[in-house]
């Protein structure tokens, strides 16, 4: 098994911190889960713990950004994007403050902690904020690139960091251009647009489909906002069928973002794989993914349906 995205996130912060002395890291008593503790140990004078008080941490980050510093703020996705939503909205996003959010433990892959801790709506919440950039990296290498790309953007960026270990799919040379989706596999019959942990499932689905003679493209939509309209419309035009796959509610996430691009602009058939307007529950991540249809088999099945 590869390393987890959160470990890659923590390592990237240390690397970035060595280069940029304005980088400060903030956490809300979860530094050993979000992996910001690596930065805290290396640069203790640039790490601030705010205790279990997420809202205050967001506003404090705004204060740091207003003072010329670049805070990277971490907690679990639900308590960052969810609990402290309005602080992010009014104190950071509304004024385009230069704050970066690296929220871990997103989606069903949190597993055993259950529905209270499984954020299925963080992308939706962050996506409706004007000016917010949203990255959903799929592997450790892409997570590192997302951190460095975020540091180059003047304004708020949300990096969705998943908990479990995953194998690298991309490599050091794979481009990571904010707002530019990466075509991982070309195809002509159906296009699977996926993000984050769903990428390996999408690639496997494409293999299953190939056995049926259906040539599926797979696109890594690592930036949910701004969404790559050109790529989505070109692939929809070419394939005539589009399926999205995300570890998030189908309401407000990647599926919705793609639907907004397609509506009125494409006649392609369309389906969304994701959490179907339900809360999560306790279980091993693999069991949860199977129970909620986040599988290669289900992605392939949705593709076949569109091609009938």
């Amino acid at each position: 098994m590869g390393k987890s995205l959160r470990v890659a996130y923590g390592e990237a912060l240390v690397e970035l911190g060595a280069k940029n002395k304005d980088v400060v890291v903030m956490d809300a008593d979860l530094s050993h889960a979000t992996m910001t503790h690596a930065f805290a140990e290396k640069y203790p004078d640039r790490f601030y713990n705010f205790g279990i008080a997420e809202a205050n941490m967001m506003c404090a980050a705004a204060g740091f950004a207003h003072s010329g510093l670049m805070p990277f703020v971490s907690t679990f996705a639900l308590f960052g994007a969810g609990r402290a939503y309005e602080e992010i909205r009014n104190s950071v996003s509304y004024v385009n403050a230069n704050v970066k959010f690296g929220f871990s433990h997103s989606g069903l892959s949190v597993g055993e902690d259950g529905g209270s801790h499984q954020s299925i709506e963080d992308i939706s919440l962050m996506r409706c904020l004007p000016g917010m950039t949203i990255f959903v990296p799929c592997d450790p290498i892409e997570t590192r690139k997302a951190v460095f790309a975020a540091a180059k953007i003047d304004g708020p960026v949300y990096i969705r960091v998943a908990r479990p270990p995953v194998e690298d799919i991309t490599d050091a040379k794979t481009p990571f251009v904010p707002g530019k989706a990466n075509v991982l596999r070309d195809g002509s019959d159906v296009c699977i647009l996926a993000a984050g942990l769903m990428i390996p499932y999408a690639l496997r689905a494409a293999e299953y489909l190939e056995e049926d003679g259906i040539h599926a493209a797979v696109v890594n939509v690592h930036t949910i906002k701004p969404i790559d309209r050109d790529c989505i419309l070109a692939m929809a035009d070419k394939c005539g069928a589009v399926v999205t796959a995300e570890e998030h509610s189908i309401i407000g996430g990647l599926g919705s973002a793609v639907a907004e691009v397609l509506a009125g602009n494409s006649s392609a058939k369309f389906a969304r794989v994701g959490i179907q307007d339900k809360f999560g529950r306790s279980g091993r991540p693999a069991d949860l993914f199977a129970a909620y249809g986040l599988t290669a088999e289900n992605i392939a099945a949705q593709c076949r349906k569109l091609k009938k």
Partner: protein, 272 residues
């Protein structure tokens, strides 16, 4: 500026507030009128700011966390020369640089966006902590309301301010005792607010919130290793008899008759 001149200035600032609200027929007179002397003590007596260079890096930061009282802030900023006084009459209108709640991107002299209660004081704590981080010597002042003090975020910020020993940080409470739905004690009592801030680790002072010299003196009291709290006893709607201590004037603009009567009480010519 001597006390007599400041009293005269306070009357004119109150008149400007009323003219702003009367012109746009919206806004919050009660809490704007109650914090006039607090802002005057900060801007005329204590804080280091430069109207010619609003983004001066070493300026003291003043955060009006009770952002709905911004007409008072705008009147002071215009008087200090941060922007032309004529701009005041554009308050809350489309494309105005004076938004219904303070906007740092639009208004010279506004350090932080506020209005969503609790967030201003929390950002101000962040500014003070960032100043310590940068080893800068400027100070940060946050003006909060007593209705605002019911927000949990105020206490999250207070806990962090004490934890990080922010002796460059002062929280000033405009304690007029009223909020939109009635008195604090009816809606949600603050209890012994001095004791609460003291328990959170603040050095606490209680002053007459309409006595500029007393406020200035308390603001200058040295503290070390802990943040400061000033409980300013004020009168909501101060200066206009029919608005004083009446929560109905929290968020209502005066009619023509009320405006004329208020200006007469203040001894300032209408549109003067």
């Amino acid at each position: 500026m001597n006390s007599e001149n400041l009293d005269e200035k306070a009357r004119h600032l109150r008149a400007d507030i009323l003219r702003m609200l009367y012109t746009c027929q919206s806004g919050h007179p009660g809490g704007s009128l109650s914090c006039v002397e607090i802002l005057m003590a900060l801007y005329y007596k204590v804080a280091r700011v430069d109207p010619a260079n609003p983004r001066w890096e070493d300026r003291d930061r003043i955060v009006l966390s009770k952002g709905h009282a911004c007409p008072a802030l705008y009147a002071v900023l215009a008087d200090k020369g941060f922007f032309p006084r004529e701009d005041l009459w554009t308050l809350r209108q489309i494309d105005s640089r004076l938004q219904g709640h303070p906007d740092m991107r639009k208004t010279p002299g506004v350090d932080v966006n506020t209005g969503s209660l609790g967030q201003g004081v929390s950002i101000a704590m962040g500014l003070a902590l960032a100043a310590k981080h940068k080893k800068a010597s400027y100070k940060v002042y946050a003006v909060i309301g007593d209705g605002e003090s019911q927000e949990g975020l105020v206490w999250e910020a207070a806990m962090a301010a004490a934890h990080y020993k922010l002796d460059n940080f002062t929280v000033i409470l405009d304690h007029n005792g009223l909020q939109i739905d009635g008195s604090n004690d009816q809606v949600m009592s603050l209890g012994d607010i001095m004791a609460k801030f003291r328990a959170f680790g603040f050095e606490c002072f209680r002053v007459d919130g309409h006595d500029i010299d007393a406020i200035g003196k308390a603001l200058r009291e040295p503290v070390a290793g802990k943040p400061k709290f000033l409980c300013c006893e004020t009168v909501k709607g101060k200066g206009v008899s029919f608005m004083e201590n009446n929560f109905a004037w929290h968020g209502k603009a005066p009619s023509k008759e009320e405006y004329v009567a208020a200006m007469k009480e203040l001894g300032v010519a209408v549109n003067g």
